[in-house]
């Protein structure tokens, strides 16, 4: 009974305090008693002893009053003196009896007092009364006598000494009493201290006991709480309290709190663990997989599946994304539609459904040994911004506790966000990847474009070069034509003079050759005659000499004839005589003239004449024959083996029209003389028609000839309004094609066809070149024509900014040698002034160290002008200065080169910067 009784902390404290108060009351009472006795003692001393002293003194005084009154009366007889006597006599006995009573406790003193009384009574009886009576009776003598013995006096002295004894006795008594009082006081003091000590001990003892019992339990609670605090997460320990007080309540309340905390802790730990599980996952598959596994394990469910929302058009489906304990993917349906079945309903309602004790058939949980039917089901939606983005379903053999349910609820909240962030992250990752791919793609495209544009550039560069060349040529041609115009005027003037002198010369030549021919004829005739040696007077050797003279003479004659012809042509003295010519005879004539040579050299000689060649051909027959003769002689001369053939046919008008403008032609003949001789190299083909020219010196030595034949041919052909063309391949033979018009009315303008022919030839040449160059474009990039070295530098305007005259001189000389135009500025300001005036500089060479305005400043100023942004400026720096480079760059130099300048390096840099 007592054991179960509550003994609360309040009771403990009150009980303890009560004991202390009790002790205190007892002590106070004790002390009070003690003090009261002391008081009594002291009062006694004060009242009794003082009264004793007072009464003693009063009695003594009464006695003295009586003696004084007796003596006064006796002396004076005045009865007034008897008043104090009587008063004292009547009073002292009262006082005596009072004193006597007071001393009732002290018989010794009473005895002494009785002795005093008897002494006093003796005095009164023996001295006082008798003397007064005597006086009243006026018995002076008796009185005198009486006083002579004075027995009263003896009484008085005795009484005084008795009083002294009494008083000293009384004093000693008083002192003894005071001493006792002091002693008692001391005792009381000690008693008080002792009591204080005792009380203190008692109260401390009680405090210790009470607080001990309180603190002990509190400590236990605190220890348990501390234990729970320090061992994070593990709050399994509970507070054990044996007492039955408020601490027990506290302990129990704490235990309850701990229980709640433990649950919350479990909840939070699991939430945190679950959340931590899907931290840093970047794929939705892994996330859902892990989540389902995690939450199923935490809730002790046997299997779980997660369905993810997929929108296809109008229908919203939830498709299985992950499963736990999924045996061969057969846990549940693969997908469901919103609102379909319990799970669909859950998705629709966005509420968690928990079904316990599922009746009937349900999915089996497969274990190694068999299959168990789950009893409980939890279906929960995963929400994000009010939308069910996924649904999770779990089946378990045990019921889902409230705690597990709230865990699921809490985890799902954050899981929605996690899913969203993973989806977002995947999206970002995907976009990043895509953008990287795009960037690379763009880079690839830009490089491809660059390649293409480079290819195009190359082509356009080539075209540009060709164009430039053509332009250059045109310019040159224009220039030349201008020059020619000028020259022509001069020449015309001179020509007039020359015509005259030429006429003289040609006349001279004609006369000369005529004069030469006359003696030559005699030489020829005479030498021939000599060579025949009809008389036989000459030796064989001499005859041979004569033959040589003859043959040389013939050569000389033909040379003179040729010169004559040529000079006549040049002098304009050769008149063409256009007549009818019978073409049908031509083959026979040629055959006759050349077959023997053919035979002699063992060559095949054939003449072909088309049937459509008209018989009548209008031309100067003599010159025509001469042309044919020259061509054929040449052909035979340069052919060692093979054949020589002549083809005569009518040329197609259209073909000839293209490059011959001879007017009034009836028809055109095309005569080709073809041989299989040594041929003429391409580069020499232009030359063979020039006077005194043959393919090369060696040819002359081998084949002889004056080299005038083809020139004469050409001149004649021109005079006849036609044209001669050479096709030849070195070593394989040559073909001379003769185009000649049949001109019944002679030549209209003699000069025209010649000029035209030249122009056409030029046009043809450029056409050919074009084809050649055009072809080269597609062959090899290095093969296309480029401006010659000098043209990079030639005519370029260079501004040299330098204050050192030696430098300037050296640079100027070197650059002028390359054909550049040099302008000098001695400092920056001069430079700025110069380029203000004249803006067409191609490049500036800028010294850095200059007076007035240095190179950096000058360059900055130049670059400040937008029109000079791209003007190449080469800074000339001193090598010693380290930070020149940065400064030059900053100031706007295009390049820099260190002094002392190396000419080759300078040229290299200038080539770089002058290349456009």
């Amino acid at each position: 009974m007592l054991k179960n009784k509550r003994f609360s902390i309040r009771s403990k404290i009150v009980f303890g305090n009560l004991i202390v108060v009790l002790c205190l009351v007892i002590s106070i009472i004790a002390v009070n008693n003690q003090m009261a006795s002391l008081q009594r003692e002291r009062n006694y001393i004060i009242h009794h002893d003082l009264t004793v002293y007072d009464l003693t003194s009063r009695i003594e005084k009464r006695l003295l009053d009586m003696e004084t009154g007796q003596r006064g009366f006796i002396i004076t007889g005045n009865k007034d003196y008897l008043v104090p006597y009587n008063t004292a006599a009547s009073k002292w006995k009262d006082e005596y009896s009072q004193l006597y009573d007071l001393l009732s406790d002290n018989p010794g003193q009473q005895k002494k007092l009785e002795e005093i009384k008897s002494t006093i009574e003796h005095w009164i009886n023996t001295s006082g009364e008798p003397t007064i009576q005597l006086k009243k009776a006026n018995h002076t003598e008796e009185l005198n006598r009486f006083f002579k013995t004075d027995i009263g006096r003896r009484d008085m002295d005795q009484m005084r000494s008795q009083f002294d004894t009494f008083r000293s006795k009384e004093k000693a008594l008083t002192k003894a009493r005071a001493d006792r009082l002091d002693h008692q006081n001391l005792l009381l003091k000690f008693g008080l201290f002792g009591l204080l000590l005792l009380l203190s001990i008692i109260s401390i003892a009680i405090a210790v006991v009470v607080s001990g019992s309180i603190v002990k339990t509190i400590n236990e609670v605190v220890r348990t709480i501390k234990q729970m605090t320090t061992s994070r997460g593990n709050i399994e320990g509970r507070i054990q309290v044996k007492t039955k007080d408020e601490i027990r309540d506290l302990g129990e309340a704490t235990n309850a709190l701990v229980e709640v905390l433990a649950q919350r802790n479990w909840l939070q730990t699991n939430i945190a663990e679950t959340i931590a599980m899907y931290q840093g996952i970047s794929s939705l598959d892994a996330l859902t997989e892990r989540f389902v596994t995690g939450i199923t394990k935490v809730t002790n469910a046997s299997f779980g599946a997660l369905y993810l929302r997929e929108e296809k058009g109008e229908t919203i489906r939830y498709v299985k994304k992950a499963a736990y304990a999924d045996s061969l993917n057969d846990v549940g349906r693969e997908s469901f539609i919103l609102g379909q079945g319990m799970i669909g309903q859950c998705a629709l309602e966005q509420q968690m459904h928990v079904i316990n004790d599922i009746p009937g058939e349900y999915r089996l949980i497969t274990s190694g040994l068999g299959e168990i039917r789950p009893r409980n089901l939890l279906i929960a939606p995963i929400l994000l911004e009010g939308e069910t983005i996924a649904v999770i379903e779990m089946a378990s053999l045990h019921e889902f506790t409230a705690l597990e349910q709230s865990l699921v609820r809490e985890v799902l909240d954050s899981f929605g966000l996690a899913m969203n962030s993973v989806i977002g992250r995947m999206e970002i990752e995907r976009l990043l990847k895509e953008s990287q791919a795009m960037t690379e793609e763009l880079q690839a495209q830009s490089e491809e474009l660059q390649t293409q544009s480079e290819e195009l550039n190359m082509q356009s560069e080539e075209l540009r070069m060709i164009n430039e060349q053509l332009e250059e040529r045109t310019e040159e041609a224009e220039e030349r034509s201008l020059e020619l115009e000028k020259a022509k005027e001069e020449l015309e003037e001179k020509a007039r003079q020359l015509t005259l002198s030429s006429k003289y010369k040609s006349e001279f030549m004609a006369n000369m050759s005529h004069e030469l021919r006359t003696p030559l004829n005699s030489i020829l005739i005479l030498s021939e005659m000599l060579a025949e040696n009809t008389s036989g007077s000459l030796t064989e050797e001499e005859a041979e000499f004569a033959r040589v003279i003859h043959s040389s003479g013939k050569d000389l004659l033909s040379l003179i004839n040729d010169i004559l012809d040529l000079s006549k042509v040049e002098a304009g003295k050769l008149d063409m005589m256009f007549n009818e010519m019978n073409m049908s005879e031509l083959p026979v004539q040629l055959e006759r003239n050349f077959s023997h040579i053919a035979k002699q050299k063992g060559l095949e000689f054939s003449i072909m004449k088309d049937s459509n060649v008209p018989d009548i051909f209008h031309t100067d027959e003599k010159r025509f024959q001469q042309i044919m003769k020259n061509l054929l002689s040449n052909a035979f001369k340069f052919t060692e083996s093979g054949s020589v053939s002549v083809t005569i046919r009518q040329a197609e008008e259209s073909h000839v029209d293209r490059w011959l403008t001879t007017k009034g032609a009836e028809y055109w003949l095309e005569i080709a003389v073809k041989d299989t001789g040594i041929g003429i190299p391409k580069d020499k083909q232009g030359l063979v028609f020039e006077a005194f020219q043959q393919a090369d010196g060696a040819t002359v030595r081998k084949y002889g000839g004056t080299g005038l034949g083809l020139s004469i041919c050409r001149e004649f052909v021109h005079l006849l309004g036609g044209r001669i063309i050479l096709q030849s391949e070195e070593g394989k033979g040559s073909t001379f094609i003769l185009y000649l018009p049949s001109l019944p009315n002679g030549m209209a303008h003699r000069d025209e066809p010649v000029e035209t022919a030249v122009e056409v030839a030029a046009a043809e040449l450029s056409e050919m070149e074009m084809r050649e160059v055009g072809a080269s474009i597609f062959n090899d990039e290095t093969s296309f024509a480029l401006p010659a070295e000098s043209s990079v530098f030639k005519g370029k305007n260079v501004l040299i900014v330098d204050d050192d005259n030696r430098n300037i001189f050296a640079l100027k000389t070197a650059l002028q040698n390359e054909g550049m135009n040099i302008v000098i500025a001695n400092n920056g300001i001069e430079c700025l002034n110069i380029i203000k005036e004249k803006q067409d500089f191609d490049i500036i060479l800028m010294d850095i160290m200059m007076p007035v305005m240095d190179g950096y400043e000058t360059m900055r100023k130049i670059r400040g002008n937008p029109s000079f942004e791209d003007l190449p400026i080469i800074a000339l720096t001193a090598k010693a200065m380290r930070n020149d480079r940065e400064k030059c760059l900053e100031a706007g130099a295009s390049d820099y080169i260190s002094k002392p300048l190396e000419l080759e390096q300078l040229f290299s840099v200038m080539r770089v910067w002058l290349t456009r």
Binding site: A437, E440, E789, V792, L889, Q905, S908, R911
Partner: protein, 284 residues
């Protein structure tokens, strides 16, 4: 589900015939020449094919294949078309600046420095690197391996001759890349070309190497492969990154083109970003 976003090649895949044709052409080229373009970005290859078809007025890819098979020398034309050789000296000068200032200090104390320029094209960047290392006083212990799959461009690279018309740009690049000398000290010119000092070539080894089909051939401290991987599909990029990883020594540097990144490669975890902006990565 994600496949539809990888649709850069859509235009190719849209047309199944064309896709088949291209595959056949690339297969043909591979079988005939050994050059494997099958893992190149289809979009890029398709543009190059289109370009060739336009130039030669060929209506279908199959005709192109026919020409490649039957016309001698035509396959070389195609190979040339497929090899893009865009480059310049000190291309992206800030890359070279960063290399000079940040990477070179890490190389300075090595007993020998091996640098591999994979896909060097006509060699402009190789010569740039040679100049850079010379100016840093490291040329005596530097070996630069310059490789490309295209022998023609490699021949050009070996010459060290670059057209004068580009030298203005190169000079600007050189200066921006932190060049410490005058650029003109490294070349001489004629009216057409700049001829780089042949002493620069002393430390350069040129040879043919195909990133797609060939193996690692040495261990390098630096691999420079700029604007090459952009022509490759992700699969091939990964394969080449594997090759680079094998060929880099620990702590070695990998320099990519300014539009490229290692971020999406499988090997991304094996590198730390040394200078992200300049695409310089360091093998961990």
């Amino acid at each position: 589900m994600d496949d539809k976003y990888w649709g850069i090649e859509d235009e190719v895949e849209d047309n199944l015939t064309k896709s088949i044709e291209i595959e056949l052409l690339l297969e043909g080229i591979y079988r005939l020449s050994g050059f494997d373009f099958r893992q190149y970005m289809r979009s890029s290859i398709w543009r190059r094919i289109q370009n060739r078809m336009r130039l030669d007025k060929i209506p279908t890819v199959t005709r192109l294949l026919e020409k490649a098979v039957h016309e001698p020398g035509y396959i070389d034309v195609l190979l040339n078309d497929f090899s893009i050789n865009v480059t310049e000296m000190f291309r992206d000068p800030h890359f070279f600046y960063s290399f000079r200032k940040k990477v070179v200090p890490h190389l300075r104390d090595l007993p020998e420095i091996r640098i591999w320029h994979a896909g060097c094209a006509t060699g402009e960047e190789v010569f740039s690197m040679a100049i850079l290392m010379e100016e840093e006083g490291l040329s005596h212990k530097t070996k630069i391996y310059a490789t490309d799959m295209n022998e023609n461009v490699l021949e050009k690279a070996k010459r060290g001759i670059f057209p004068l018309s580009k030298m203005q740009t190169y000079t600007k690049n050189y200066m921006q890349a932190g060049g410490t000398h005058a650029f003109s000290e490294y070349y001489t010119t004629d009216f057409k070309n700049a001829y780089f000092n042949s002493s620069l070539k002393d430390n350069i080894i040129f040879f043919q190497h195909n990133l797609v089909t060939d193996q690692s051939f040495n261990e390098f401290h630096v691999i420079i492969c700029r604007n090459v991987l952009i022509y490759f599909t992700a699969v091939l990029q990964n394969q080449v990154h594997e090759l680079f990883y094998e060929s880099l020594c620990p702590g070695g540097f990998l320099g990519l083109g300014d539009k490229e990144s290692i971020r999406f490669a499988e090997r991304t975890g094996s590198y730390s970003e040394f200078n992200g902006a300049e695409r310089i990565y360091r093998k961990i």
